[in-house]
Symmetry: C2
Subunit: 417 residues, 2 copies
């Protein structure tokens, strides 16, 4: 039997990331840019606010005209018109004059302070004030939020709702983003049935294919479906060859162990692909294999569903996000205390699907399926991975552990474990 | 001027959630169910594993035949065939016989233990072992992961990649999910330009509309676009009326303050809508107004972009998720220490867009734009909201604060702040 040498998870991640080639840029319309990655920085194309504006509903005055006002000496202003948001004053404000002005409206020429409604008493032709106002009082100045030319968001940032607001503000009707990789998904295994099939002896339905496609969707990466294939070396080789012509990366599930029908290693050899690693010191997923052929990736994930899930999140996801230019392609990292004992020691790093929760004692992480009876549902119930380093002892409830968040829009710049 | 009475944020949330009517169920195909909410529990339709199976590549034997084996007394087995994953043995295993068996394959009749390859020495017609095996050794038993009939995931759960795997396993080619609300988005304000427009004096581009649509997309809620409208009472009333006929909820931005052209309050009155609240003790977004007309919601978000963003996440998002059946509609809650002083006291609860990060001292939250120069980009840079309760003092770096996570797939069942 072939003996494989396991490498640490961090090394496996680095081997992959060192082979990532960022894809080129393309220009798309703003509405379609959610989930894409900026290939250009967001620059303030104009000052924000673009003009001096009123942050309140009130009256725009010349501050000097309020000098000397007091409770005993209310000073009166004449209102010469109104400026709603979106309008501009028709003429400059002169001595003892005021424009009624609405939130967001441009301060009229001549005026240099805003008096809020509640600071006034109405009169027939205007209002009075009981205190002096300073130059600039209650004014949002042009450029105070951002000055024209400021780089506000760097290239390589994921576009989400907040980013969209900024792009819209500056008139980025089109935006330059990195191209997305096209990823093929192929499930291998003679035991695999379709989701629509009835169970028959010895067979199970293919859950890895639909799961990986959902993981890709969650990561914002488009895919091409290559279905399921039996463990047939020649047929499978042809399918992988074709898929590699049509995609930037191919994710296969199954066929990477050392069984008689685990053909992926042979296929990599036939194609002349370079295997980056074929054994990782982790559970589950130690047989995860990643190969490259030119700039194209072959992610050989395990056929075991939880190993497949973990292999995708740890290895395929950051590579694909980095291909589409994302500078923060890793799962976010938190610390928590372990909510239950995990007594089984392991020579490999263990990734446990878990649920994190804020408790009175801080962040707690409870495995979503340590008990065998929960094994199959743990993949659906977890919202994070507990990372338990390899060692000769188990872990106790209360031990501090590392967590990697699943299903989070934000990413981390570095792999820290 | 109208005096509004501010209510606490928690009360505002409860007023809204008490009016939510869950939508009906519909059946859709599995591939389209990502991001939807289960209207039925996921039940184990069969045992998992569905049959006794081998967790390793090795040989299936009768344990009793290995009795007495030792280093000095290796016992030999004859291999009568091979069972790859997806196949079944052709005949029962008899005395001193074995099937070569692959990971995931069904244990053949008669066999009750699996010997791993590395525990054997090959012979001409089979292999020898040097230790006895126990009944059940190295066998994954039918039903040990889940027993037929087990409720694995409850109704009201968001469908994500892990859920998809479980649904596929049990042959849920179609799945019953809650209907999605259709949400209208209408930006009001005479000052609003389109993203494609050049700036002109007194005007700004509409960033709230695109942002809210992106927030809806992130929450998995479809929308109908109603564009922008000037502050024209009659035109705006007609548009709101039409939108309410076509949608389950209408989100407007702007027009909810007490300025001369803030027409939404008047429109609610004209329509006969019940205003749940029109002032919340929060910054930004104190003017956020929510009204209901029958089962339909009118979310009147502020025209200020950060208030609009926050109002959506705190009020519209949980209501819409609850309409589509999600039992965990709130933003997840964490605690962190404040990375910077925030000295300005406030009589209202303050929601500050911030970036959380794990540091040596635990989770830190740094405001994404306390400084005015960052105000406009903070909406694009934050990944959470810091919640600073109202009070007469400010906050210091190191103070423990509450965080609400933005852009997280998981949700929280309860509003805890």
């Amino acid at each position: 039997m072939e003996i494989r040498k396991p490498i640490p998870v961090a090394d496996a991640v680095m081997h992959i990331m060192n082979h990532v080639k960022k894809l080129g840029a393309e220009t798309i319309v703003l509405e379609q840019s959610i989930g894409r990655v900026l290939a250009e920085p967001i620059v303030a194309r104009h000052s924000v606010p673009p003009f001096n504006r009123s942050p309140y509903d009130g009256f725009a005055i010349r501050a000097e005209d309020s000098k000397g006002a007091s409770g005993d000496n209310r000073l009166e202003f004449t209102v010469i018109g109104e400026i709603g948001a979106g309008y501009v004053g028709e003429r400059p404000v002169e001595k003892k004059e005021a424009y009624r002005i609405m939130t967001g409206a441009q301060i009229p020429t001549g005026a240099d302070a805003v008096v809020m409604f509640e600071q006034t008493v109405e009169t027939e032709s205007g209002f009075t004030v009981r205190k002096p106002f300073e130059t600039g009082e209650n004014i949002s100045f042009k450029g105070e939020d951002a000055a024209e030319g400021d780089v506000l968001i760097v290239e390589g940032t994921l576009i989400h709702a907040g980013t969209i607001a900024l792009l819209a503000t500056f008139g980025y009707a089109e935006v330059s983003v990195y191209q997305q990789p096209v990823v093929g998904v192929l499930s291998t295994g003679t035991e695999l049935l379709e989701v629509t099939d009835e169970l028959v002896p010895g067979k199970i339905r293919n859950s890895n294919g639909p799961m990986v496609k959902a993981q890709l969707t969650r990561a914002g990466v488009p895919f091409k479906e290559y279905g399921t294939t039996k463990d047939d070396l020649d047929a499978c080789t042809k399918l992988v060859e074709r898929a590699l012509e049509e995609t930037d990366a191919l994710i296969t599930t199954g066929g990477v162990s050392v069984g008689d029908y685990d053909y992926l290693p042979t296929i990599y050899e036939r194609l002349g692909a370079t295997v980056l690693f074929n054994k990782v010191a982790m559970r589950p997923g130690s047989v995860t294999t990643v190969a490259v052929l030119g700039d194209k990736f072959l992610f050989g994930l395990s056929g075991n569903p939880s190993a497949c899930f973990t292999g995708f999140e740890l290895f395929a996801r950051p590579a694909l996000l980095a291909m589409m230019g994302n500078r923060a392609p890793y799962l976010p990292h938190l610390k928590a205390y372990l909510a239950e004992d995990f007594t089984k020691p392991n020579p490999f790093t263990r990734f446990v699907r878990a649920v994190w929760k804020l408790t009175e004692n801080g962040l707690a992480a409870a495995p979503a399926g340590f008990n065998k009876s929960n094994a199959v549902s743990s993949i659906a119930r977890g919202n994070c991975l507990i990372v338990l380093p390899s060692g000769t002892r188990g872990y106790s409830a209360g031990d501090e552990v590392d967590l990697l968040l699943i299903g989070s829009e934000q990413g981390a710049k570095d792999w820290v474990l």
